[in-house]
């Protein structure tokens, strides 16, 4: 009996220890990135780093604006493509389609979410880049195809499984009786969706979009492979860009050889970390808010 008690105590202790280790992870990550970014933060004011558009590490110029703008631009394009597709599809799957289509969609979503980033990148190079070149030629625009639009399309495809999965759940948790209430006063099915379901699921839909955006912001390899990686503040979607994750991934090789370079890259990681954590917290709060209401 004593032995059993002892084992119980030891394992409980071990479990608690593991929990604390896990809880410490983000703190340690944040702390580590802040410590590593301190050198550059002490040398230049924050506003200059975020607002400057001059990037010449050899000369000691570190302006992050081109990278931040690129990241936001690519993410925006991907959002504009993925959001309506996912919303429409989730509506179709949960409201109009037959049961088997929804059942078929589950493995489709699983596989799409499971395919590695680098494979999406390969697909982007093979399919999306030539497609964008052809699209640009319609308006007589010159592009290599390695540009913001390509990055946006690849990112959109990658974020679809994540957004769609949450949206399906959002629509499934809306009670049928609410639909019946709307239908029974003479609304058509589409009016019911438009005026009642979209409103009832609003916070959940926003959360799904928020999580999709934060997923897109942090995506690295696939975007890096098709986005062109030119340091500039891009104007048209057919121009190349250089998002933050690509900056970090592309330059790790030489970051120890140039002064302040490693600190600058860690600062880039810190920016990403902070933005994405914020987006995630907001989106998750929106989801929980939705749950509490029901």
């Amino acid at each position: 009996m004593k032995r059993r008690k002892l084992i119980d105590q030891i394992t409980s202790g071990w479990m608690l220890l593991c929990l604390f280790v896990v809880l410490l992870i983000p703190l340690v990550i944040g702390l580590g990135l802040v410590l590593k970014s301190l050198p550059i933060l002490q040398l230049y004011p924050l506003s200059e780093l975020l607002n400057g558009s001059d990037w010449k590490p050899m000369a000691g110029h570190f302006g992050f604006k081109p990278f931040i703008v690129s990241s936001l631009y690519v993410t925006l394009i991907s959002f504009l493509i993925a959001a309506p597709v996912c919303l429409l599809s989730a509506i179709y799957l949960t409201q109009y389609a037959r049961r088997w289509l929804l059942n078929l969609m589950q493995p489709v979503i699983d596989i799409m979410a499971g395919i590695p980033s680098v494979v999406y990148g390969v697909w982007g190079i093979l399919v999306v880049v030539p497609l964008v070149v052809r699209l640009a030629s319609v308006w007589d625009l010159k592009t290599s195809g390695y540009c913001i639009l390509s990055g946006g399309i690849v990112l959109a495809v990658m974020s679809i499984p994540f957004i769609l999965n949450i949206l399906i759940e959002v629509f499934q948790t809306i009670p049928t009786e609410l639909k019946e209430a709307s239908l029974s006063v003479g609304a058509t099915y589409w009016e019911t969706i438009k005026f009642v379901l979209l409103r009832e699921g609003f916070s959940g839909i926003m959360a799904a979009f928020g999580l999709g955006i934060s997923k897109a912001l942090g995506e690295t390899i696939a975007v890096l492979m098709v986005v062109g990686n030119v340091v500039q503040i891009p104007g048209s979607p057919f121009q190349a860009a250089y998002p933050l994750p690509a900056l970090i991934a592309n330059n790790y090789g030489e970051m120890m050889s140039i002064p302040m370079y490693d600190s600058a890259l860690m600062f880039a990681a810190l920016i990403l970390f902070v933005i994405i954590i914020l987006f995630n917290i907001l989106a998750r709060l929106a989801i929980n808010h939705g749950e509490y209401r029901c």
């Binding site: 992870i25 597709v85 599809s89 499971g114 399919v127």
Partner: protein
């Protein structure tokens, strides 16, 4: 008036159906393109040999180094994540079950952690590696990927454990079991199929992720024989070969993509099969 409503509904219903079929079509198209482009360079040598001299100029050899490297890495990271993750998930569902306040907060926290992108883990892993005095190596890669998949592991197991009926917990208490015994004998067994799925899911993430191992695992043409040696990984093998200007090497990148995609498809399929097969033996 009614006519207009019907047209509006028809238009949107069609659009919604199109969006759905578009998603399925894109996935099929993606798989077809990858396989069609990759099968030409795919031969037995590709998956059974390490790169020989002049491989990166179109010479003899294969990507066995990357296949084995990825396998070691994902295996190590999944094992480590399991050792950390299982106790946490069990702790949450056996010990914290009456503390909804903390349980909700921990779940929230893990979900947020799940959202942190792998490139941030990669950058942090690199910092950690320097701090610990390691070089780019299998060990550093495993540690970084472990950080990446721990939240996935915990939340997936947690979701399974949540479905274990509360009555089971109470009847086990009534028999005089300690909480540890309940955790491992009752919950663990009940949730076993779900746990296997969680492990496979984490393994898939570990094998496919590139951004986190870019800094930390290094790259080598040899199969690592110890934890302190660098290790090649499949995603990076694809990435590096694709950036080569030589067409023959690019072809091999496509072939490598086929290998990686196949792994992921098999893992996905296996997870589905296992979870549906074992479901029969658990108490609902």
């Amino acid at each position: 008036m009614l006519r207009r409503k019907q047209i509006e509904e028809g238009v949107f219903k069609t659009l919604a159906a199109l969006a759905t079929y578009l998603i399925i079509a894109v996935l099929l198209f993606l798989i077809v393109v990858i396989f069609k482009q990759g099968y030409r360079a795919l031969d037995w040598d590709m998956i059974t040999k390490v790169p020989q001299g002049g491989y990166y100029f179109g010479g003899e050899g294969g990507i066995l180094n990357a296949i084995i490297g990825s396998f070691y890495l994902a295996l190590g990271a999944t094992g480590l994540a399991f050792i950390i993750g299982l106790p946490v998930a069990l702790f949450m569902n056996v010990f914290l079950i009456r503390h909804r306040f903390w349980l909700n907060r921990i779940r929230f926290f893990l979900d947020v952690l799940w959202g942190v992108p792998s490139i941030v883990y990669g950058a942090f892993g690199f910092t950690l590696m320097l701090f610990l005095g390691l070089r780019a190596s299998l060990l550093a890669g495993i540690l970084t990927v472990t950080l990446l998949i721990v939240p996935i592991m915990i939340r997936s197991i947690d979701e399974v454990l949540r479905t274990v009926p509360k009555g089971l917990l109470e009847s086990a208490y009534a028999l005089g079991s300690t909480r540890t015994e309940i955790a491992f004998k009752v919950f663990f067994r009940q949730a076993l199929p779900g746990i296997v799925t969680a492990i496979l899911l984490s393994f898939g993430r570990g094998i496919g992720d590139a951004a986190s191992v870019l800094f930390t695992a290094g790259y080598t043409d040899y199969i690592p024989t110890s934890l302190s040696q660098p290790a090649a990984t499949l995603p990076l093998a694809i990435f590096f070969q694709l950036s080569s200007p030589i067409p023959a090497v690019q072809e091999r990148a496509y072939a490598s993509a086929v290998v990686l995609t196949l792994f992921i498809l098999i893992i996905s399929l296996l997870a589905r099969l296992l979870s549906s097969k074992y479901k029969e033996h658990t108490i609902k």
